[in-house]
């Protein structure tokens, strides 16, 4: 770990971390632009970079992107990122009552503390969890991927069937190309361009960036009245009283971040609800109550650290952003998972170290520049979107110097827009696309080892646990409804 910190403090790596965090904060502050979009767009630029520099840039963007969302959530009630939605509940009323500086100060501090506490979990748990995951064989990996996909699909907002459909469609789009197991073309229908399948980056940029810009360009955005911070950001000695709330929010955020499919927005909501329930003044929540801002911001930032744990220890992405990070590692010939700690410890520990330093950089940047960052929202949206579209085209082209990738990107942009119109969540779609080759490879390896015998899984306790959890996740809404109905029936019986 010390070596990782030393490597991180090399001028180039530190510069990339600084650039990444700054870019992330700026993009996170602009409503409609997300850390996911930024990471997808800058991924092509990392091709020629050293892997450690690439990872530090992307981790900086991730941390900055989530944290930057709090600025507009507090000043304009327009969350820069979905993870900051809950921050608007108390942050905006505080700003409206002339306490914008105080809300920003508490939000930034809570974000940093949440990040540092979840870093503690990340640094403490990851090596041990990776050692444990080394015991996993193909059956365990296959069921783990299946569980992650099912959880992500079921826990996405909206219909369960549409969540699962999104995952299945994503998996289906990953099928065309050369089947690596036997070296034969599959579902290419005679097209040479299809032999390499659909590239990860054009699919990601298309499904997320293009579809979002097409959607946003159709929707007018009215910027309301903004209370800009005028004085320095105040933090007092008495704020130590918020320490238990900060700790609760950070722990909740970390553990929720660990679960696939539950992002920072849900972590913030659960933390906020918990704080409200245990508060002696629950009626003050939603009216500009300081613990509300702390609960939301500590949890949404801590969720990043939590989500990085399964990513580096098992190669399982909890959200689209982590799926792109997996893509970034794969581009540099690195396979995220338990062997990362053995094969490329500088990367595994580098991610952990970069996460901590990115949080510290975020504190310094946001504390000093929040007043200026807040002005970004006044930039003309039309020019911003046109510029991003140019980056999308050049980013997709740069992967293979091929316009086929640009057409694939546009195609997936339209598919993404169509899926969103039909209320099919894009998260399971993209993660299904990323995880499909891993799931197939592991299933085929499992069956080769067991001579085609599916009952072998019965002798694999971890695999059975993962399968049971996947089944429980699918069945849980129906079980919960039935329990609720019985409870209501009992109440009705005199």
């Amino acid at each position: 770990m010390i070596d990782a910190f030393l490597l991180l403090f090399a001028p180039t790596n530190l510069l990339f971390l600084f650039i990444g965090t700054s870019l992330g904060i700026v993009v996170g502050a602009i409503p409609g632009l997300t850390a996911t979009m930024l990471i997808a767009l800058t991924l092509p630029l990392t091709f020629n970079m050293e892997p450690v520099s690439a990872v530090t840039l992307l981790i900086g963007e991730y941390v900055g992107g989530i944290s930057g969302g709090l600025i507009m959530a507090i000043l304009l009630r327009m969350p820069g990122t979905p993870a900051s939605i809950v921050t608007t509940f108390d942050g905006y009323p505080m700003a409206q009552s002339g306490r914008a500086e105080r809300a920003l100060a508490l939000g930034i501090m809570a974000s940093v503390v949440g990040g540092i506490i979840s870093w503690g979990f990340l640094a403490g748990m990851s090596p041990a969890l990776a050692r444990f995951a080394l015991k996993f064989g193909p059956w365990e990996y296959f069921t783990l991927v299946l569980m992650a996909l099912v959880m992500l699909a079921v826990l996405s907002q909206g219909s369960i069937v549409k969540g699962l459909l999104g995952a299945a469609l994503g998996m289906a789009f990953a099928l065309p190309g050369i089947d690596n197991s036997i070296g034969q073309a599959r579902l290419t229908f005679g097209s040479d361009a299809m032999l390499s399948g659909f590239g990860l980056l054009p699919v990601l940029i298309g499904a997320f960036a293009i579809s979002q810009i097409l959607r946003d360009s159709a929707t007018p955005q009215n910027i309301g009245k903004m209370e800009l911070p005028k004085r320095h950001l105040p933090i007092y000695r008495r704020d130590i009283a918020y320490a238990p709330g900060l700790l609760r929010g950070s722990v909740i955020g970390t553990w929720i971040g660990l679960l696939p499919g539950i992002g920072g927005n849900i972590a913030a909501l659960v933390s906020y609800s918990t704080e409200k329930q245990i508060s002696r003044e629950p009626e003050k929540f939603g009216t500009g109550h300081e613990p509300g801002v702390i609960a939301a911001e500590s949890a949404n930032n801590a969720a990043i650290g939590g989500a990085l744990i399964p990513l580096i220890t098992m190669g399982i992405p909890g959200s689209v952003t982590e799926a792109i990070l997996i893509g970034a590692l794969t581009i540099h010939n690195l396979q995220p998972g338990p062997l990362l700690f053995q094969n490329a410890p500088e990367i595994a520990y580098g991610i952990i170290a970069a996460y901590l330093v990115a949080n510290v950089l975020m504190l310094m940047l946001m504390w000093g520049l929040v007043r200026y960052i807040a002005q970004i929202v006044r930039l003309p949206r039309s020019g911003l979107m046109a510029g991003i579209l140019v980056f999308c085209v050049t980013g997709s082209y740069a992967v293979n110097s091929s316009f086929t990738d640009v057409w694939v990107m546009i195609g997936f942009g339209v598919i993404g827009l169509g899926l969103e119109y039909c209320r099919v969540p894009l998260g399971p779609f993209v993660i299904g696309f990323v995880l499909s080759p891993i799931a197939e490879e592991q299933l085929r390896a499992s069956l080769m080892m067991s001579d085609g015998d599916f009952t072998e899984i019965l002798y694999r306790p971890y695999a059975l646990v993962f399968l049971a959890l996947a089944a429980l996740t699918v069945a849980w809404p129906a079980i919960a409804r039935r329990i609720g109905a019985r409870g209501a029936l009992r109440k009705d019986i005199p």
Binding site: P44, L45, F47, N48, V161, K162, L164, L165, A168, L169, M171, A172, L175, S181, I182, Q184, R186, L187, F189, I210, I213, L214, R215, S217, A218, T219, P220, P380, R381, S382, G383, M385, A386, G387, L389, V390, F391, V393, T394, Y397, A398, S401, F403, V406, W407, I410, G413, V414, G418, Y421, C422, R423, S436, E440, L443, R444, L447, M448, D451, G452
Partner: protein, 160 residues
């Protein structure tokens, strides 16, 4: 057209497209050779996914038809974005397709195509005025120049 009808039609279209996708998978899988070196073979996953997609498409279609016949409201119909202007989105998409076509097929230089694209997209989304036209053209020129330098100097990639 009310939200319920729109949601029902969207679901039916989704089910139709999913049926077609499932059929493509199953037809493609049928032309793949049987497994030789390992038990599963390369046709197994397309077959499994094709069947799953058929099932989901059927569920979505049946749910949509039942909802339409029962007169129940669409479950998340209220999530529709208010005051959206689909024409703007269509214009941006058209500009994007023309931009890619110019670069790929017509071989228009990147430094020419990009300012044209940025101007067209900017004016499709934002206010249409001579001042904006000039501003977007300059922005496009700066972007094209900057990106060309980054691509050629650092990534050794030439575009357009």
């Amino acid at each position: 057209m009310d939200d319920r009808t729109r949601a029902t039609l969207a679901d039916l279209a989704l089910a139709g497209l999913t049926f077609s996708g499932a059929a493509v998978l199953l037809v493609g899988a049928a032309s793949l050779p049987p497994p030789r070196f390992e038990p599963l073979g390369s046709a197994a996953l397309p077959r499994i996914l094709g069947s799953i997609l058929f099932l989901f498409a059927a569920i979505i279609a049946i749910t949509a038809i039942r909802r339409a016949s029962n007169g129940k409201p669409a479950p998340t119909a209220k999530a529709t974005v208010p005051k959206a202007d689909p024409k703007r989105g269509a214009l941006v998409l058209a500009a994007l397709i023309i931009y890619a076509f110019m670069l790929d097929v017509l071989r228009v230089p990147f430094l020419v195509a990009t300012p044209l694209f940025v101007t067209a997209t900017g004016l499709s989304i934002g206010a249409r005025s001579w001042r904006n036209l000039a501003a977007f053209a300059v922005l496009g020129l700066i972007l094209a120049g900057g990106i060309s330098v980054v691509l050629e100097r650092f990534l050794y990639v030439r575009i357009g």
